[in-house]
């Protein structure tokens, strides 16, 4: 092989290495801001750590003695392997490992160090083939052009068309191909060329498989399920808890169902709490069933005469998340940490059956009745228990799914409350992220008409409040069955209605 073509080969590899190196850095930065939020901090720290790691790699290059070419090829292959699969690894593991940051920066350090090793080794390989000034000028020129290409390719082509995981694998493959080409062209100069080639081919097959299976990896990783970056994912004994974040919009999903969006949750929670709570004659003792996010409790605490709030939520993971995680505590205004609030992690039905005291107001904010076990919390048997612990002049409010999408389900809840001996007042509100959403106020006796709304509400005013109780014809009352433990009419209706809506 001529010296000229060797030089060209190496300069081409500088170009590829530089592009790949920057791509890995961008992938890590983007993923970090996807998964951890706060993109400025994430990009800044990832870039910083990456550059620092390159420094470490460069420093270590002096310990590479005789077998420079072999080491260079090995480095190339390993960057291909680690860098190429880094996006997939991070996506797959972010929900599984507790210290995701440790994993992230460990990977960034490793890739950075390997990339940092490359250029000094290359300089030493080329030092006898080029004049020093030419060497430095050419290597760095190609390095920076590669960087420019990467920084343009990444946002314009790779992320939109390939996605992070597939882009990672693609550049890993390019990296390995450069390594394999080097082995092939310089096979007479490289010690143990066959071994390197074998390793390279194995890695190549691995990366090609990853490239082909990227969609499946993304599906596993859940990141793809949600339109916004997932920042928290845990499985509790009862459900899969996912928090996503995009800009200032924090969203909570339980088992894939949206629970709230930060942008408009105030509409939902103001509408859930105030139309009922503002009208009961006394509100010393309030009970919240479900609603472990503390957002309903936040609204309840806006009334100074509320003396104690009991929150009963099945899932301790939810209540602890919403009393410790900073962003979430900001969102619920520290509601779950208030001295007035008592949090109980127990099943609402069994807990309720054991109670003897009375509550002035009860909020039932359960997940939608999408399965037989949640369906029990919407039955006449459950409402009988609610009534038993409700003060005779108090009231209960029930979140009761969308009267637009699941019209029969909504009215089934209303009629079930009617059948349980309550006076009912159905109402609805428009929550942009949910659509039309329905609630029912149920009370043993009719409530006073005057609502004593607390100050500082963003959605509810006496005017908007009056409008909530009017139902247009397309959401109007329809005949339904009564939901009982022994027929689960609501779950069956709900499944039927949402099936039609989704498909």
């Amino acid at each position: 092989m001529t010296d000229r073509s060797t030089r060209l080969l190496f300069l081409a590899s500088v170009f590829v290495i530089a592009t790949c190196g920057l791509i890995y850095e961008l992938i890590a930065g983007t993923l970090a801001s996807y998964l951890l939020g706060d993109s400025v901090t994430q990009f800044s720290t990832v870039i910083g750590v990456y550059l620092f790691a390159m420094g470490i790699g460069s420093w270590f290059s002096k310990y590479v003695g005789r077998n420079i070419l072999g080491t260079f090829i090995q480095t190339e292959l390993f960057i291909g392997l680690i860098g190429g699969s880094s996006a997939a690894v991070l996506f797959l593991l972010f929900a599984q490992v507790n210290s995701f940051r440790v994993l992230l920066y460990a990977l960034v350090l490793l890739i950075g160090a390997l990339v940092g090793l490359e250029i000094p080794l290359l300089l030493r390989i080329l030092k006898d083939r080029l004049a020093f000034k030419d060497l430095v000028s050419k290597v760095f020129t190609f390095d920076y052009i590669g960087a420019l290409l990467a920084s343009l390719l990444f946002p314009l082509v790779l992320v939109p068309h390939l996605g992070l995981v597939r882009a990672g694998f693609l550049f890993g493959i390019l990296n390995v191909l450069v390594g394999l080409l080097t082995i092939w062209l310089l096979r007479d100069q490289v010690a143990w060329a066959r071994g390197h080639a074998g390793t390279g081919l194995l890695i190549l097959v691995f990366l090609l498989t990853g490239f082909a299976q990227s969609d499946r990896i993304m599906a596993w990783s859940e990141g793809a399920t949600y339109s916004d970056p997932v920042i928290h994912a845990r499985s509790s004994a009862y459900q899969r808890i996912i928090l996503t974040r995009s800009g200032n919009d924090l969203r909570l999903y339980l088992n894939g169902n949206l629970q709230f969006s930060q942008r408009d949750e105030y509409r939902y929670h103001e509408a859930l709490v105030h139309p009922g709570l503002a009208r009961v004659p006394r509100r010393e003792r309030v009970l919240v069933l479900g609603g472990g996010d503390g957002l309903a409790v936040r609204e309840v605490l806006k009334y100074p005469d509320v003396r104690e709030v009991t929150l009963v939520d099945l899932d301790a993971q939810i209540t602890s998340l919403f009393s410790t995680q900073e962003l979430l505590v900001d969102l619920n205004a520290g509601a779950l940490k208030s001295p007035k609030v008592r949090v109980i992690n127990q099943d609402a039905f069994t807990w309720l059956k054991q109670q003897t005291g009375k509550f002035d107001f009860i909020i039932a904010d359960f997940p939608d009745p999408s399965n037989f076990s949640v369906g029990k919390l919407y039955t006449t048997a459950f409402y009988r228990e609610v009534r038993r612990v409700l003060h005779p002049d108090g009231a209960v409010v029930i979140q009761s799914t969308s009267p637009y999408v699941a019209r029969k389900s909504f009215w089934c809840v209303v009629h079930t409350l009617d059948a349980s001996g309550f006076v009912t007042e159905p109402y609805h509100v428009y929550v942009p992220s949910f659509g039309e959403w329905g609630f029912v106020i149920a009370s043993p006796q009719p409530l006073a008409a005057v609502a004593d709304l607390p100050p500082g509400l963003r959605y509810l005013t006496p005017e908007t409040l009056a409008g909530l109780f009017r139902f247009p014809p397309d959401m109007g009352d329809v005949p339904t069955e009564i939901n009982r433990l022994n027929n689960q009419a609501l779950v069956r209706t709900f499944e039927e209605e949402w099936k039609q809506y989704v498909h």
Binding site: A237, Y238, F349, K376, R484, L485, N486, N487, Q488
Partner: protein, 536 residues
């Protein structure tokens, strides 16, 4: 062939299981914790073999009830209700319950036998009254229909069937049913609705509960002369799926196949239950985690202080003073006591009564056949699911000889997560009862585990990973089998007649082993005794 982890004994156990259940023979190698429970065979055999010491003490009481199953407890409750306190109930086992026995562990209570009752027809007056007193019937709606306690009604979904590799809702096989099948289902259902509404020339319902309040019209009683299979043949029901379903119903309710039980009994299963509820469909049942153990506990509460367990009556004979003497052996004190009573209510199966009661001893044995049963309670780390319809209370497998399982945790009100107890049933009716009984008692706990798991594994391949414990009960004489001729025989009707001061109450006197029969007979016998004791 060398099978390193299957010992010969275990292999034989599997072979036996496979023969019974046609299950596959893959087995787990680890031993599963659990034990054999159920009626004490030692005490039963001691009773059979005799040799009790003569009574060394005498007690005098108004009435002695022998047997603490539903009939005996019903009689005790009825006596208490009618103001009689001078009585005792003697029970051979250490606890009452009989077929309504139950157990409990940290996960759940669970049944060892009968596990539900259906809505009682109006003819079951005594049962309806009981349900009112227990609060199971909480009130009535404007049209007089009873409002049942919602938490006792079986929670939806009640039933599912495993067929062609997936679960469907309900037990009539829908998946893969042809048009011909569907036509026969409709015809059969229509026919049963007809029988449900039918009344005989004596004005009584053709089929009702209690059995003896059914019509004596020959048009219906003639059905007792043929088997259910013969009836299906005669009616032209060819659908294999329908015939399976009817066979399942016969095994489930009577412990016998449709070839064994009478057509009258087979139809009774579908046609007798016309009870209604204001707050449920008519075909719904009442159930509890501990099955009919819940009812048993309630019955026992009324007269708990008058129940003496671990006492076996071994001789019941008319006394010279017109009363009755009951010699009973106390297993704890190892001595016999003579109870001198004015009346006795014998609430044990007829084949036992024939040994105990002096007046019955010389008589030819009644032609009664009792089917053996196996019941296994499995404690699982979680409720098994499976492809298709959601987990239900009753989970039946189309192509199995078992009756599937009920989920004891199904009636829980909280959201199910974590461990569950399921109760697996099998009516051992594929061969003659005596042979099946002998086979059942030969099996060890490990044999039963193999058999039960082989049956469950085809439906829940993950069962070996879920199972934590298996307790097994083999019932030698689990249920009276309503073979042709039994229900309408004059001999059966006469068995319930008192012999002087000795009265009888047991569901086998009805020919059907169900709660309502046992309860009603207990109440009626106690009422008769109470009336006889009343000063003239």
């Amino acid at each position: 062939m060398n099978l390193p982890d299957i010992t010969r004994r275990r292999f034989l156990g599997v072979a036996a299981g496979a023969a019974l259940l046609a299950g596959c023979s893959r087995r787990s190698t680890r031993a599963i914790p659990g034990e054999m429970v159920g009626p004490s065979r030692e005490r039963g055999h001691r009773l059979r073999d005799g040799g009790f010491p003569a009574a060394s003490e005498t007690e005098r009481h108004g009435v002695v009830i022998i047997g603490g199953g539903i009939a005996g407890l019903a009689a005790a409750r009825q006596l208490t209700k009618s103001g009689h306190e001078d009585f005792f109930l003697l029970e051979l086992e250490d606890r009452t319950g009989g077929n309504a026995s139950h157990g409990a562990n940290a996960v759940s209570a669970y049944p060892w036998g009968a596990h539900y009752v259906s809505l009682p027809p109006n003819d079951a007056r005594e049962v309806i009254e009981l349900y009112e007193e227990l609060g199971l019937i909480a009130g009535r709606d404007a049209t007089g229909r009873p409002i049942y306690e919602e938490t006792a009604l079986v929670a939806d979904p009640a039933e599912r069937l495993w067929i062609l590799g997936r679960w469907q809702e309900g037990l009539l096989p829908k998946i893969g049913a042809t048009d011909a099948d569907q036509r026969e289902y409709a015809a059969f259902t229509g026919k049963m609705a007809e029988y449900k509404a039918a009344r005989g020339n004596d004005g009584r319902r053709a089929f009702t509960i209690p059995v003896d309040r059914s019509s004596r019209d020959e048009a219906f009683t003639a059905l007792d002369r043929i088997t259910m299979t013969q009836w299906l043949d005669a009616q032209g029901y060819r659908s294999e799926r329908l015939r399976w379903y009817v066979d399942y119903a016969c095994r489930d309710d009577f412990g016998g196949t449709r070839d064994q039980v009478s057509a009258w009994a087979g139809i009774h299963y579908f046609a007798a239950r016309d009870g209604v509820a204001a707050n449920a469909e008519n075909d719904v049942v009442l159930t509890w985690p501990e099955g009919n153990g819940w009812l048993e506990k309630k019955l026992r509460e009324t007269s708990a202080s008058r129940i003496r367990t671990g006492l076996v009556a071994w001789n019941i004979a008319p006394a010279p003073d017109g009363g009755v003497w009951i010699d009973a052996f106390d297993f704890r004190r190892e001595q016999s006591i003579r109870f001198e009573a004015r009346a006795a209510i014998v609430c044990v199966p007829r084949f036992v009564a024939q040994r105990l009661c002096a007046p019955l001893r010389g008589q030819p044995a009644a032609p009664l056949e009792y089917g053996p049963w196996a019941v296994a309670n499995l404690t699982l780390s979680e409720r098994p699911g499976g492809r298709g319809f959601a987990p239900a209370w009753d989970n039946v497998f189309f192509d199995s000889r078992s009756l599937g399982y009920v989920n004891a945790s199904h009636q829980r009100l909280d959201r199910e997560a974590g461990p569950a107890v399921i109760t697996w049933y099998s009516a051992l009716c594929d061969g003659p009862a005596a042979a099946e009984r002998a086979k059942a008692f030969e099996r060890t706990h490990a044999d039963w585990c193999d058999l039960v798991l082989a049956d469950l594994r085809r439906v829940h391949p993950e069962i070996d990973e879920l199972v934590r414990r298996i307790d097994v009960c083999a019932w030698g004489h689990g249920m009276i089998k309503p073979v042709p001729g039994l229900i309408t025989s004059a001999a059966r009707q006469r068995m319930a007649d008192p012999i002087g001061p000795i009265h009888f109450a047991h569901s086998d006197l009805s020919g059907l082993s169900i709660f309502e029969e046992a309860y009603t007979r207990g109440v009626l016998a106690a009422s008769a005794v109470a009336a006889s004791l009343r000063p003239a």
